[in-house]
């Protein structure tokens, strides 16, 4: 069976969209779209808009109202938090990672600033698209919401453990 697939890939590779397939691989490895079938992921990749950012471009500012979630397809993005007029880098996100996910849940403002660290390609899912997805494709949207809840719960759990460790340690 696997050999059959290889034969199809060898002789009909000109028919297949290799760029999208590589993006699909990237996205399927991320936690936000975990558990979605390849067909559904391809649908998301077709429907959603991609945007190139040059190195140093600010994707969004801290305090802005969030309306979209971003998935890194190529390049990397730096998440910066301003505290006491100093910029502290919280994280550097590579391909497959996502950020700005709270925008899908409610009208929250951005907690930190996102900057493209190098030339990057991002996949953008806007809130109204996700709302439409909830109405039209509950299987996909509920899977994404479940993943989102898992991400949040992991984070809360991780944070709590860290707090407890800090209390215990001298």
């Amino acid at each position: 069976m696997a050999q059959d697939t290889n034969i199809v890939r060898r002789y009909f590779s000109w028919v297949l969209d290799t760029t999208r397939e590589s993006h699909l691989q990237t996205v399927s490895n991320g936690p936000l779209f975990k558990g979605l079938s390849k067909k559904l992921l391809r649908k998301l990749l077709i429907d959603l808009i991609e945007k190139k950012y040059a190195a140093g471009d600010i994707i969004f500012h801290e305090g802005e109202s969030g309306k979209a979630v971003y998935v890194v397809l190529e390049g990397s993005v730096k998440i910066i938090k301003e505290s006491n007029s100093e910029n502290k880098t919280l994280q550097v996100l590579g391909p497959g990672s996502h950020f700005g996910e709270l925008a899908l849940i409610g009208n929250t403002s951005r907690y930190a600033t996102a900057v493209a660290e190098e030339n990057s390609l991002l996949l953008i899912m806007y809130k109204s698209y996700f709302d439409d997805l909830i109405r039209s494709n509950s299987a996909t949207s509920s899977r994404i919401l479940l993943n989102l809840a898992e991400i949040l719960s992991d984070y809360i759990h991780h944070n709590q453990t860290e707090c407890n460790d800090n209390k215990i340690s001298p």
């Binding site: 028919v15 297949l16 067909k39 309306k67 996910e101 109204s128």
Partner: protein, 381 residues
Amino acid sequence: MTDEKHMSGTPLTDLRRLRNQMPRWILILLALGALAVIASRVTQLLMMLIAAAVIAYLLSSVISAFERLGIKRSVAVILLFVLIAVFVITADLIFIPDLKQEIMNVYAKFPEFSRQIQDALLLTAQSSAGKYPFIESSIMKLIDHVFGPGGFLERTLNASEILMQATPLIMALVLVPFFVFFLLKDWPVVMKRVMDWVPPSYVETTISVIGEINIIVGKYLRGLAADCLVIGVLASAGLGLIGVSYPITLGILSGVTNIIPYFGPIIGCTVSSLVALMQYRSFDPLLNVLVLYLVIKLMDDLVIQPLLIGRGVHLHPMLLVITLIAGERLFGIMGMILGIPVITASLKTAGILLEHRREKLGRESAGLIKPHLAKSPIRPI
């Protein structure tokens, strides 16, 4: 002194100053207005482009289905065109002969029909002459205007006129599929270029506008296509049951004209009524046709349209009438059909842009907005 110098500039600097003083949205509105005026001057080409865009939009879901299988977009478009060609050839071999025969019959019998309509109208004029003289004079004027020498029919059926009218039709038959092919194949590339051009601070608002337009136009066009199909089938079946001749042709005509809001059903009903009048030479079957179209219209308004088009495309009745009239004046029938989704999408877009502007002004006046989750975790953001 500086001010004086500044005030007394050349006309070009005056223009630049005016441009800088004017809010950007006024400039955008002016540009759009100019574009609309230019577009109204090249209506034929614009209509072909709009028709191609509508067809491409309706076919895009089929292309997406191919793409979901991992197939390249360009290959999917070629595959779809091959499938359409196969379908057209098959339909031509299997289904079209009946329809062709029906149309040829109508065309062959046209002079007889025309005489029958004249007779029926003369009969009505004579019967109402005593009681309502103004009806008699109106009918006589109508007969003269339509059937008289140099009248509407003579002008329409003139061979050179037909040839002149057929030329743009043949052009459309060649150009529209050509436009559809490239719109389907290259649309994602166009969108990518547009997105590359959008400054990062406007990305979320732009995507919001594109998303809303996509939802509104998509719902309207797909709903309208399905609605026309249902109306066509219902009209064909109803006319067949009543016993009116040429139910398939009349059903197709009713379905196609149904695209035009409000006036479409009237056209379908009028033509079917005329055919019934010619066939039975009496006003009784007319009542059946009228009741049929009334029932179809009620079903369309109360059941079919809410189900297929939904409430996504909703305009105030007054704005709707203004849109229809202005659309017809500027772009003819196409303006009437597409005016409603265009105005609805424009209103939605204006709402989103105003919201973006308000948010921007709010942020500017308040300094930096206080983070919503002041003591919340670093991730998620």
